[in-house]
Point group: C3
Chain length 319, copies 3
């Protein structure tokens, strides 16, 4: 195939192996931009990217914001706090208003699964799903793929262990799609109440005890525990959860020495990861943050290109 | 006359027919910028525009923000939420602080009529009224003039019908001034409680029944109903209002086929307009949104020029 | 000495006389930028400045924002309102995340003294203290030094009188360090409950009665009174405070005619200063605001340069 043709990025489920590779290759090309003294290319100069985060998020929003700025795009922040536009209108009215203002790309986070896809069908601008309900968080999935590739040199054949709240996690879902398409063997692990039934049909093995899959894992992805889940009685107690599924130095003794530990952030220290593990030699959490910008630059750049609306990436800004 | 000479834009009441024409011509010249792949001209590069929206607004604020960005200006957002500056100081102190910071243009929305004019007298920077109390909303008035001109090719001699809460609407007031100066025949229509006494002296005819003026209208402007007005007993009930003054497909059967339907947004669907009308072939609501950016670019550009503080509009950005 | 070598600006206490002079000279060089029609130099183009104001502030934040924009930097706003990043993480996690995103400069305001210093030790990016607890507010101290120098031509040998809540004021502390290093004679004046014990060891004289030090003062700095201090019973009543320490036209009769009156803003009019004094011929409050941008440009520029991460200051932007 010659290049990216999709207007939108809604999930990793619908992407082919070739499309995933294209995104990762483009991210690799952008990785270098953030290492320059002048961290900017003119690729999206004069284009507008609207960041519509209708659920609070600073980490992902900031990552998209810097990605768009390093591509020289103009940015419009649409947040619920300041947003009579959002309150007084349906999300579709908001999206159509942004289209009428000639916004080229709408980055959308919403607490209801499927809203980005619905908006994408309704408007001409590109829509990038920045997390919808418990459906998908495709750019985080891509960040994880990219980080594994950087650290391990390959994805096919690796044993990847995803630990935590698989049931409610859009990150887990995007990871599962991306990793299995690129040939990794995925095991999910957590309390039975947090493992969805039928997950094996997505190609994942299931384990309820960390001790079993950990020794052979090359990559461990710890998911963030939403603290309100305890009230909903999905988790017996934080202490119990931490004892069984929290990763600490003791548990890592049984793991491969070159295991990499990932987390989408922010970490609840002492719950999903002990502080020594979160900051330890196996952790690549800060690399995930760094890679997040290159990956999101790639996504913005490719969807803009699919619509014929990006400039060339000059090697350097002209000053 | 040779050009624009006013430091501020406070209302359409004080503008001459020539000044209105100058603004509309300039907007026409900027309309093309938002159709380019690189939606930017360097006209206000290195100048600062402060957006002081002391009443919540996303639509108008976003429109000014994009207009300023497409002129390459720097933008300062001053919002009540984040604004100890606003809380701890009088609006005049805030304005003088912005002047001391060498801000060139202050775009000001305030819930009290006359505040932008008071600020404009006190400071050197240009002040643009983005809506003050129930006084004026001049850029919305200009957007409506521009949109009518685009769709009908002229304003003089047209029959324009404004429907809704005329009493509290700054949009209606700006529309009345602009339309009558440019030679349209204006009829206002709504419940008697929402029609101000003496409105005829502004050159408008009054009707309390939509059926009378609708058949001869070329343009219909439906105003947004502030939902709190029902509590204040200006409106018997939403159902009653909608039955008498809401525009639906049934009522449009008695109208000219080329009637254009306008609304400043956001629409309360089913109240002022039925969904089929809001999204139907007569509606030019999204064109109003699109035109809003060109019109606000023109306003920012002309007031900056009146102070000798704008650059030339190069045909293209240099990259 | 040849130039600035510090990664961070945490306080004026640790700066040498030479370093203070270097900062003030650089601010002088930038002062002219805000007088140009195109208020911009490309010195920090493609660099990112994060503004982390974890205490509300519009005035200082806006000043840093304009300073960074006039240096062509990209800006990231991290505010508590929108900040799950801040809530869900320790400030150190937030700072390390910003570092991983290749942010070069973190401007940090925090209500706990010492937090900027702790963050500065933990991360590679430059940290600029924008006010921490009751410790220091170094850029405000520099603004005051710069403004005195502009108006009086020198600092050494001047009599400077600081009036108000010395105990809780980080501005007073930074002023004391800066002024005494550059050879001014400082007197602090306020109610005994608001003067810290042992302040004489910092080289300040103490007075509890305004009448004594006022006649010989060349410079008067009125501090902002935090209104909640009355509840905490540090102040008998606002009326009493204003009668004894508020500066009005009557009290100024005993002062030198060329006394300059300063205030970090926003002024509680009628409390620290009467309106005629705040807006009168002795007041240089708006000049402080104007100078704030040049001073903060200098700080941003010098810390970036200490890390080899700034461009040259071209005389003009290339368009």
């Amino acid at each position: 195939m010659s290049g990216w043709t999709r207007k939108d990025l809604l999930g990793l489920e619908e992407l082919s192996r070739e499309e995933l590779t294209l995104l990762l290759d483009q991210a690799k090309a952008f990785q270098e931009v953030s290492l320059r003294p002048i961290k900017k290319v003119p690729a999206l100069r004069g284009r507008t990217v609207a960041l519509c985060f209708l659920e609070p998020s600073t980490r992902t929003r900031t990552s998209f914001e810097l990605a768009a700025k390093r591509l020289s795009a103009d940015i419009l922040q649409i947040q619920p706090a300041s947003s009579s536009l959002v309150k007084g209108e349906t999300i579709l009215d908001t999206a159509r208003t942004l289209e009428a203002m000639r916004v080229e790309i709408v980055v959308l986070r919403h607490n209801v699964s499927g809203v980005p896809a619905m908006v994408a069908r309704a408007i001409g601008p590109s829509v990038i799903n920045a997390g919808d309900g418990s459906h998908e968080h495709p750019t985080q999935g891509l960040v994880d793929l990219f980080t594994i590739l950087e650290k391990k040199g390959r994805i096919a054949g690796l044993n990847v262990l995803i630990v935590g709240d698989i049931l409610h996690s859009r990150v887990a879902r995007s990871n599962l799609w991306g990793l299995s398409k690129l040939g990794a063997r995925v095991t999910v692990c957590g309390p039975p109440t947090l493992i969805p039934q039928g997950i094996e049909s997505l190609g994942a093995e299931v384990s309820y005890r960390l001790e079993e899959p950990l020794p052979k894992a090359d990559v461990l992805i710890a998911l963030r525990l939403q603290l309100e889940r305890q009230k909903e009685q999905y988790i017996p107690s934080f202490r119990e959860y931490s004892r069984l599924y929290g990763i600490d130095r003791e548990k890592l003794k049984g793991a491969k020495p070159d295991l990499i530990v990932m987390h989408p952030g922010p970490v609840n220290r002492g719950l999903e990861l002990s502080p020594e593990v979160a900051d330890g030699p196996n952790s690549v959490i800060l690399e995930q943050v760094t890679n997040g910008i290159a990956v999101r630059m790639a996504v913005l750049y490719l969807v803009a290109g699919a619509r014929g609306e990006r400039g060339s990436v000059c090697g350097r800004m002209s000053w």
